[in-house]
Each structure stands twice: as C-alpha cells, then as structure tokens.
C-alpha cells in the first residue's frame, strides 16, 4: 500500500509541464500519465500475473564450480562435487540481472482500426506500457522499436520508470512516416540491436507476409512473444448496410453491401486467420501467441476518455433495487424515476448505460467490469476528469457504461448482473431487466429505398468519366499557364539587358587576376599572399565553371578531377606546375621567384582562355544563361 500512497507524487512528477518535451501535446501527456497509473494498478492488483510469466528462468544460468571460501552461503555447496574433490565446493549461478525486454510495436495504418472504443494502436500502446512497466518493476531493461514499413523509432533498452515513460511517450507521440507493415524488417532490426539474449515481444496485427523466417531466426536467440491484436469486427463483420471500406495501408477503397449474408464472410478478415497460422509456423510453436481482443482486457477503460466528446451519447437508464426482507433472493425492479430509455440506435453507435443500484444503507455493490454478447458490447464509461486531471471517485451505487450493438433489428441490452453484500454479510446477485432496443441501419433497408440495388460486393470504387474530363481540362489549363509564364519570362529577358549583372565565372576570375597583378605583391616580395590568392582565384573559377566542389579539394584531388572530366584533361598540366609551387610556398614556407610567379599568373590566364574556348562552342546556352 505504501506504493499506492506515493502515487500522487509520481503523477505530479510525470505531468509537470516543464518536464514535457516540446511539441508533445497536453492530451498525449495526459494519456501517458493515465496509462502509467492504470498500469500500476494492474501490476499491483495482481492481474499482471500473466505478464510476469514472461520473465521466467532468471538467475539459473550456471556459472562455475569453485572451492568454498569462508563467507559463502552454505546452501550453495554442491555435495556431489565436494564428494568427488574431497574438499568443499560451491556451485555458482549467474543472476541474469541484465535481462532485456525489447518491445516491437506495429504503428502501421491497419493498427488505426478499432470498432468499439479503442484503436488497435492505442491498445498496443497500453499493452507495451504494461510490459515496459512490469519489466521496470523487475529491474530489467526495456527497449522499444516502433515500426511500419520502416523503423519509425527506436528506444534503446534502459532501466527505470523514466525510461518506461519515455517508451510510452514515444509510442503515443509517433507520427508514422510509412503506412504499410514490414514485420520482417522490424525483426531484422531487433536482431541487430538485441545483442544479448533477451525477450522480444512483438505487438502487431500481423497483417503482413514473409516474416516467418525472420521471426524463427529471432526465436533461436531470444524468447519471442507474439501478441496479435484482433478486433472482433475483423473476424466477424456486422450487418451494417452499405459500407465504404478503406485499406489504411494502401489507400484502396471498396464499397460493400454488408447486409448480404453471402458477402459478410468474405469481409471477416480471412487474411487474419492465415496470419495466425503463419505466426505459429514461423515460431514453430515456441513463440507464445497471445490473442488480445481489443475490448476484452481490463486495461481498456483507461484510454476511452480521449475523443469522447465527439461520441454521440444516449443514456439508457437501467436500475435495480435490492430489497432486504425475509426473502433473500431480491427481485430487481425498475424504478419509475429512471430516465425513459431511448430504444432507437444505429449499428455500432455508442450510447451510455447508467446502472443505478439501490439497497438498504450499508449495502456494498460490485458492478461488472464489462459485458459482451455476440452482438452487444459494453465497457465502463470513462470518468470525466476535472480541470486538475484527477478523476472524482464514482458514487458507490451508480456505474456508467459505454455500449454499442452490432446487429440489425430487434436487440436488447442484456440483463446486467450486480453483486451485492448486505451489512449482515449476506451476499447475492441482482440483475437489471433487459432493455429492448431497435437497431436500425444507417441506410434504409428496403432495396428500392436504397436506390442502390445493384451494388454487389466487393466492388472496387471506379473513377467516372467526368473525372477524366476534369483531369484533361485541368491539364490543358496547366500547360497553358506554363506556356504563358515562359513567354512572359522570355519577354522580360529580351527587354532591358540585365539589371544587376551577375559576373560570369570568367569575368570574375579575370577581374580578380587584374586586381592581383595590380596589387604589386610580387614587387614587395609577398609571395605567400600572392600564391594564396592566385590558387583561390583559380579554384573558385573552376568550381563555378565546372560546377564541382573544387574549393573543397586538395591539389591532388583537383588534378585527378580535372584529368577525369571532359574539356579539362589538357588543362591539368597547366595547373600541376602551379599547384606544386603554390603548395610549397603556402605550406612549406618556400620562397618564390619573381619570374616563376609571373609565369604562374600567366598559366592561370591561359587556363581561363583554354577552358572558355573549349566550353563556349559546346555549351553556348550555359554561357548566355550565366
């Protein structure tokens, strides 16, 4: 309980705005904090047992047998060895303190699906958080790889709560650049970064192909846990009338009449079933495959709060009354003061259910966490947080749930069981009455009313003729606009010569050479300055004229480049002599000679003359443009 008492401190540290990295939205940060708190609760309340099972076999790796020394724990004495050797020996085990957990999380487009309240991606984040925090609580190292069809992010394994928080933060804040899924690449990456034996958890929907071998290879070295996220609606498609489906990874769209019984089985992701088979094959039975139905896990309720504002809410009041009397089995009754239930909902629409339990004073109620039947799903509604972000404790006798129905026609909110304990210690269960619902499709069901009777499915959404006509018109317009712009530009060039004349490389170099000759450095004996300037002029000229990074080249590189390029092969000898002398003077405190320097100046001029003569006839346009 001590840990729980320290919770507020932890929360405030995590939520401190100054500790928030730039660019991370407040909502994201809220999510992180909530996930953390929720995860702690899961771990502390023991539901995390399933996750802990992953961290098995610690500290049992045999290290050595050595002679007993005073101070060794007597329990470590190996009596067999002792008997053989005639002296006390102990057996030592290495405690694998450096157990590393690497979580591969799929953040691809298909993970953005979720039929009820939670996207698969959010669920993946939560699952990863549970694993990360559970590793951290074990003092293990945890890292994460976020992937789509490329590696989106990598958090190297590390220890500590802050590190786990960073993983969760990265997971929630990631904006994937890729949309597809390349599990094989992610697995390859994991093999590269996981140098020591450890555990690799793969959280994905496994909507990919060709990763089996990689997963198998990964398993040779590491303990691999494959966690497949499956939304119930991916397995079984509800009758929801006419539906437009979008493949988030390829952007392909199809329109489907889900009202037809012969179509629905096609939609139930057959690929998914195949994928499941492959995981098992690839891991050859050694990798655990854990299915997680998105709406079943206890952690689900954490994330619902986000985006709730957009959800249409419809309150269906359900209430039960527990009577205490001589007859222990209480009869549920619906009090008249409950709001009149609205029984019209559409398929998949979210509505709220309020369950209010009344009983004698001191009666304690236990509400169900969640409830689902074939066509009905219900999870606890998120508790609205106040400004400070702290959730008020719900009243003990009222629970709100968020629910949705996935079947057309007459349906019902099934009876909701509520356990109670009376002050005298008697226990029992009461149920609300079923609430009848009429579930209608978003489209009129009658075919003539639909006016779309001919839709057969799956049908690829085709592009109409009007589209092509519009495209052609647009293209013509663009061509016309381009032609007009070019014409205008030509006219502008033809009119006044040039306003600010940019010097051509040739002009610039010639001017610089004149200035250099006029400066009279040679007369003053300033050979070093002369050569620095002379080589700079030559290199700058060549850089601009040849459009190659000559200035960043050394003498040898430059000569090699000139020899290799067209037009300049014959120029190289002109420069070789000059560069050799220049290097001597520039870097070796060499002395120059007046007539030699004059000759080098002339050589640069000859270089410009030669190159211009060569380049001009072959590329007059570039000369004019410059």
């Amino acid at each position: 309980m001590a840990a729980r008492r320290s919770n507020p401190a932890v929360e405030s540290r995590a939520a401190r705005p100054s500790g928030r990295p730039a660019g991370l939205e407040r909502a994201t940060f809220e999510k992180i904090r909530r996930i953390q708190i929720r995860t702690r609760i899961i771990l502390e309340s023991g539901i995390g047992g399933a996750y802990h099972a992953v961290f098995k076999g610690r500290g049992m790796e045999f290290a050595e047998v050595r002679e007993y020394q005073p101070g060794d724990d007597a329990r470590t004495i190996d009596w067999n060895v002792t008997a053989r050797m005639g002296a006390l020996h102990i057996k030592k085990f290495v405690e694998e303190r450096d157990l590393t957990l690497l979580i591969l999380v799929d953040v691809s487009g298909s993970q953005g699906f979720g039929s009820s309240f939670l996207l698969k991606r959010d669920y993946a984040a939560e699952l990863a958080a549970v694993l990360a925090f559970s590793a951290v609580m074990n003092h293990d190292r945890v890292g994460a790889v976020l992937f789509t069809d490329r590696i989106e992010g990598f958090v190297p394994p590390g220890r500590g709560r802050d590190h786990a928080l960073r993983i969760v933060r990265d997971l929630l804040a990631v904006t994937p650049r890729g949309r597809g899924t390349d599990l094989a690449a992610a697995v390859r990456f994991a093999r590269r970064v996981m140098k020591r034996r450890g555990i690799v958890a793969v959280i994905s929907d496994f909507q990919d192909q060709g990763y089996e071998k990689g997963l198998g290879a990964l398993r040779r070295r590491h303990d691999v846990v494959a966690l497949q996220l499956v939304d119930p609606r991916e397995r079984e498609f509800p009758d929801a009338g006419l539906v437009a489906l979008l493949d988030p990874e390829t952007g392909e769209r199809i329109v489907v009449d889900s009202g037809r019984a012969d179509v629905r089985p096609l939609l139930a992701a057959t690929a998914l079933a195949e994928a499941r088979g492959r995981v098992q094959a690839g891991a050859r039975g050694r990798a655990h495959l854990v299915h997680h139905r998105v709406v079943r896990a206890p952690a689900v309720s954490v994330l619902q709060g986000t985006g709730a504002a957009a959800m249409k809410t419809l309150v269906v009041g359900g209430a039960l009354l527990i009577a205490v009397g001589p007859q222990p089995p209480p009869r549920p009754r619906r009090p008249s003061r409950s709001p009149r239930p609205r029984t019209e909902v559409s398929v998949g629409e979210s509505f709220e259910i309020e369950v209010r339990a009344t009983g004698p004073p001191g009666c304690v109620f236990t509400f169900p966490g969640e409830l689902s039947t074939e066509s009905f799903e219900m999870t606890p509604a998120p508790v609205a947080a106040d400004a400070k972000g702290t959730a008020p404790a719900p009243p003990p006798d009222v629970r709100r749930y968020r629910a949705a129905v996935y079947a057309l026609g007459e349906s019902q909110v099934p009876p909701i069981p509520v356990r109670y304990r009376l002050p005298d210690g008697r226990e029992g269960e009461a149920r609300t009455a079923a609430i009848p619902l009429h579930v209608h499709s978003l489209l009129p069901k009658a075919k003539d009313e639909q006016k779309l009777a001919d839709v057969r499915a799956p049908v690829a959404l085709s592009v109409g003729r009007m589209f092509w006509i519009a495209l052609a018109v647009l293209a013509t317009l663009l061509v016309a606009l381009g032609a007009w712009l070019i014409a205008r530009r030509r006219g502008a060039v033809a009119a006044p010569p040039v306003l600010a004349p940019a010097l051509t490389p040739e002009q610039e170099a010639r001017r610089a050479l004149e200035a250099l000759a006029a400066a009279g450095r040679l007369a003053l004996g300033e050979y070093r300055a002369f050569y620095i300037e002379l080589t700079a002029i030559a290199k700058r000229y060549l850089e601009r004229r040849l459009e190659a990074p000559i200035v960043e080249m050394t003498t040898a590189e430059m000569l090699a480049h000139l020899r290799g390029a067209p037009h300049t092969a014959e120029m190289a000898p002109l420069l070789r002599d000059l560069s050799g002398a220049a290097d001597q003077i520039k870097f070796a405190r060499g002395r120059g000679a007046s007539e030699e320097a004059e000759r080098h100046l002339a050589a640069v001029q000859a270089l410009i003359d030669g190159l211009e003569a060569r380049l001009r006839p072959s590329a007059p346009a570039s000369g004019a443009a410059a």
Partner: protein, 161 residues
C-alpha cells in the same frame, strides 16, 4: 569501453578483408612453408630520433585552421550547411581530435618524405582520426548512418586552404 577512453586512441583504422589476390598470397605463403626471416632494421635509438624528426615537421597556420574547422564541423554540422546531420550527432569530436590531427598529419607527411604537411595529409587521415570520436544518436543508428559517412560529408563541405 566508455567514450572518454576510446577518445584517447590516436587513430581507429578500419582493416577490411584481404582482396582475392592478397588472400591468394597468404595461401601461397602458407603452402611454401618458408618462415620469413626476422632481421633488425632499426635500433631503438633511431626510432626516438625519427620521432623527434616527425615533431619538427611544419604545419602551416592555415592548415591548422583547416583541421580545427573539420573538428568544429563535427560539433556544429549545421554551420557548414549539414543541417540534416545535426540530429544524428549526439557528441562531436573532442579537443583530443585536434591534437591527434596534428600528430597524425605530421606522421603522414613524414612517411611521404615531406618536411611539411599539405591538405592531402589531413584529408587522408581525417577518417581514422575522427571516426571513433563522433558519437551518433540512435536516430543515426536507425537510419544506418555511420561516422565515416559524416566525416566524408564534412570533408566535402569544408574549404581546403
């Protein structure tokens, strides 16, 4: 080894696989069974003397600026227009890199039989001097960027004196 210790190494040379021709030579040498004769080529005294000669090799001021510019570019790549490298480099090269440059470039010049350092010497040794001193971020690791690639880019961007 921690970075601070790695930093103390003068050079990190990459030794790749031998070429097929070299591989063949190794093979032949093994087959022939001849043990190469060991002969003394230098006395310790001579080595000390040569070391002293290396220290006398001249490095021009503008070359010193060039080496400092290379090292600084590993710390602030955005200053030479390599903005995309800024998030890839966690730590640039330390001042030890500059000192190593001075030693190593003179050694190269010496081996070439020159009494002074030229830019070629610096460029030739730059990767060996810098590759173990630049610390890349995990983003770089994810994008398969190596320190050699970083140094190559820097060499292409910094003006040679």
């Amino acid at each position: 080894m921690p970075e601070a210790q790695v930093d103390r190494f003068l050079l990190k040379a990459r030794v790749d696989y031998p070429t097929p021709g070299e591989e063949r030579q190794i093979f032949d040498r093994m087959l022939s069974g001849e043990v190469p004769a060991v002969a003394r080529v230098l006395k310790a005294e001579a080595v000390h003397q040569l070391t002293r000669r290396v220290r006398e090799i001249y490095i021009d001021e503008r070359l010193r600026d060039y080496m400092v510019a290379l090292v600084t570019a590993t710390r602030r790549p955005e200053d030479i227009g390599l903005v995309e490298f800024a998030p890839l480099i966690a730590c640039g090269a330390s001042p030890r890199a500059t000192l190593s440059f001075s030693e190593a470039s003179r050694a190269v010049a010496f081996l070439r039989g020159r009494g002074y350092v030229v830019p070629e010497d610096v460029k030739e040794i730059a990767k060996d001097v810098l590759r173990h001193r630049i610390l890349l971020t995990y983003e770089a690791e994810a994008e398969n960027v190596t320190t050699d690639m970083v140094v190559d880019q820097i060499l292409e961007r910094v003006e040679v004196p």
